[in-house]
């Protein structure tokens, strides 16, 4: 009898939201790694979306529709994510925001697509995800190939005529380096050195000494922050003052600790803006509110991308007749949503569901070891 009571109670919990939801309400799922190795990312994602949803509902909802948020925990794990996706689909969501990690997102793409649920990924930069032709899939984060393009653009505008290109043989860094190299060739900038260093090594002076003999105007490094820091430090020990430009995997304050402030000063890297660098009024006001509610700022930009996904959805729901996944997708795809003002800059989507425009910005390390947006 007791068991039956518990079962009944649980069934009640599961059915309650759908049973009592008014016809006019719109349910949006947030699939995020609330537990597991990326828990801090996932919790930030949920916090941001819930806070935004409260604001929208207090202001009378999106186009008269009340927004109900349904959270699914993917645990940062493709298997758990598939279960979370099934659960969100059965709970009757129109659209799902998330998730962090391309492999996790990929495990859920087909589930949402088959059941006609719109998905906006937030921290999934793998190129493959939008190349499948899924009509209901979007993302607010940039793609891995965008970064190479932005990097190349900055190298060009800074006026460098030849570059030394270094990667670390990881699939991410090598892919980025190859992308960048092609763009350099198209732009007519000479790549005088193209080689990999071994990650985890401590001494990169051999490579640096060789690069020095080729007299490049700039070194571009596409790997991660520990190696970037060693390159900076050893470059300084050699008393060589060539600039280095790195990718978004070097956006970590440990870089300055390892390299030392003097060696890190003047280092450039490309990265989406961090939450503390969103300086427009809209973002700043929201971050103040976020901080007063949850005590901290979101730890990275990827959770802010979830906030952007939510804002885009609300904008679409306001502007379509009937808030169905198809209608929202048509609205997002067909250029009706153009340069929508999000936290991370203007948002538009192309036919594939990728975000159009540059999310990446150029950062510089200043004399005090702080990361500042380069002018």
């Amino acid at each position: 009898m007791k068991k039956l009571a518990v079962f009944g109670f649980l069934m009640g919990l599961i059915l309650a939201p759908s049973a009592f939801a008014a016809d006019n309400d719109v349910k949006i799922g947030v699939m995020a790694p609330v537990t597991g190795q990326w828990a801090s990312e996932g919790q930030d994602m949920v916090n941001i979306v819930k806070l935004l949803a409260e604001e929208v509902n207090q202001a009378g909802g999106a186009g008269g529709h009340k927004i109900i948020i349904e959270v699914g925990d993917d645990g940062g794990n493709p298997k758990t994510a598939a279960l979370a996706a099934q659960r969100l689909v059965t709970s009757g969501v129109v659209a799902v925001i998330g998730t962090y990690g391309s492999a996790v997102t990929e495990a859920t793409q087909d589930i949402y697509d088959e059941d006609g649920v719109l998905q906006i990924a937030t921290g999934s930069t793998s190129i493959r995800l939008t190349e499948k032709g899924l009509p209901l899939f979007f993302r607010t984060c940039p793609r891995d190939d965008d970064q190479g393009r932005v990097m190349a653009k900055h190298v060009q505008t800074m006026g460098f005529k030849n570059v030394a290109l270094v990667h670390d043989n990881s699939s991410y860094a090598k892919g980025l380096a190859e992308e960048f190299k092609d763009l350099m060739n198209q732009a007519g900038i000479k790549v005088v050195y193209y080689d990999a260093i071994t990650p985890g090594d401590r001494d990169y002076t051999t490579a640096l000494t060789k690069i020095k003999t080729l007299t490049p105007e700039v070194i571009v490094f596409t790997g991660y922050y520990p190696e970037a820091a060693m390159l900076l430090r050893q470059k300084r020990e050699m008393a060589w003052d060539v600039p280095i430009i790195g990718g978004d995997a070097t956006n970590n304050l440990a870089l300055v600790d390892i390299a030392g402030k003097e060696a890190a000063a003047g280092y450039y890297f490309i990265s989406p803006p961090g939450p503390s660098d969103l300086t427009d009024d809209l973002s700043r006001a929201f971050m103040v509110e976020y901080q007063s509610r949850y005590k901290n700022l979101p730890s990275s930009v990827w959770s802010v991308m979830a906030g952007d996904a939510f804002k885009v959805l609300v904008e679409a729901i306001k502007n379509v007749k009937e808030p169905t996944a198809e209608n929202i997708a048509t609205y997002l795809h067909d250029g009706e949503l153009k340069d929508f003002v999000g936290f991370t800059g203007p948002i538009s989507f192309d036919r594939k569901g990728d975000r159009v425009g540059d999310v990446y910005r150029l950062y510089e390390v200043d004399k005090n070891g702080k990361f500042v947006l380069a002018p």
Binding site: G200, R202, A207, T209, K210
Partner: protein, 301 residues
């Protein structure tokens, strides 16, 4: 020529560190015929202990950089020796009578244990020795400007190795170590306490490994809990190139490996550096299966 000299100095400095670690492998092998796979992690432990004494305890700020580094090196060598001794008592001595394979598996276990213990104590993020610990200056050697740190690393590793050589060849304990390496049974009959000799070997090796760890920390800054894997593998290679079990062989092997790596990366390709290194290993093993200094292995330890 300038390029060649620069690469040579880099190779010598890196090689000096490889040689210091390789000595730990080769001494243990010489006496016990055991490859101590945990040696790379003792090296990591040394780097972290150095970080704690030098930076966390603020030794650097209290007594000035020079004395602080000296005290730190002595402390770390002592603590690493202690760690080596505990490791020998806990993981190898109980297995002395069982087969060599059991001891090797035990060594792998110690390696995993140490690496994870370091991660739990100091954290999974890499730590950094301050970059301004030693002045970043260039000094001139025969018209070529070379970073001071590079020179210091090479000289100190040479000094330590010469000291070790004198210890092994000129002292009674050294003689006991040599005797135990030739024939443990006969050494016992001659009144040598082989257990004591093994204990000493397991303190000298880790002390040198710990020293190398601090040197890497000071000269390159960044230390991480998994750094012992790569250095351990390279030093093990160096010991084999030199002829494992042979102390001068480990020194020559280490320095040769460092120089080959530097030239491989400089004149062929940085991405192929490790491939070149191991190709050299294979080549030497094909031509001289016992390493560069195979003769009189037993007498030289």
């Amino acid at each position: 020529m300038e390029f060649f000299i620069q690469q040579l100095t880099i190779g010598l400095a890196v090689g000096g560190i490889y040689a210091l670690i390789a000595l730990g492998y080769t001494m243990v092998y010489g006496v016990l015929k055991l490859i101590n796979f945990a040696h790379g992690d003792i090296f990591t432990l040394g780097a972290y202990l150095g970080f704690t004494t030098l930076i966390s305890f603020g030794l650097n700020g209290r007594v000035g950089t020079g004395p602080a580094i000296a005290i730190c090196l002595i402390l770390v060598m002592g603590l690493s020796a202690l760690a080596g001794h505990i490791m020998e008592r806990a993981a190898y001595r109980p297995l002395r009578k069982s087969g060599r394979l059991s001891a090797v598996v035990s060594a792998l276990g110690v390696s995993i244990f140490l690496q994870n213990a370091i991660m739990l104590i100091w954290g999974a993020k890499s730590l950094a020795y301050p970059a301004d610990l030693l002045p970043q200056v260039l000094i001139s050697i025969g018209g070529h400007s070379v970073p001071l740190i590079r020179v210091l690393v090479f000289i100190s590793s040479i000094v330590v190795m010469v000291g070790l050589n004198i210890f092994i060849n000129r002292t009674r304990t050294g003689m006991a170590i040599r005797a135990s390496a030739i024939d443990q049974g006969a050494a016992k009959l001659m009144g040598i306490d082989v257990r004591h000799v093994v204990a000493i070997v397991f303190m000298i090796g880790p002390a040198l490994g710990g020293l190398a760890g601090v040197m890497v920390g000071i000269s390159y800054g960044q230390i991480s809990f998994s750094m012992g894997q790569l250095y351990g593998l390279k030093a093990f290679t160096a010991a084999i190139i030199g002829g494992i079990g042979n102390i001068p062989g480990a020194m020559i092997g280490g320095i040769l490996l460092g120089v080959v790596e530097a030239f491989g990366a400089a004149y062929v390709s940085a991405a192929w550096k490790d491939a070149i290194t191991f190709f050299v290993l294979i080549l030497i093993l094909v031509v001289r299966p016992t390493g560069i200094l195979p003769e009189r292995v037993a007498e030289k330890l």
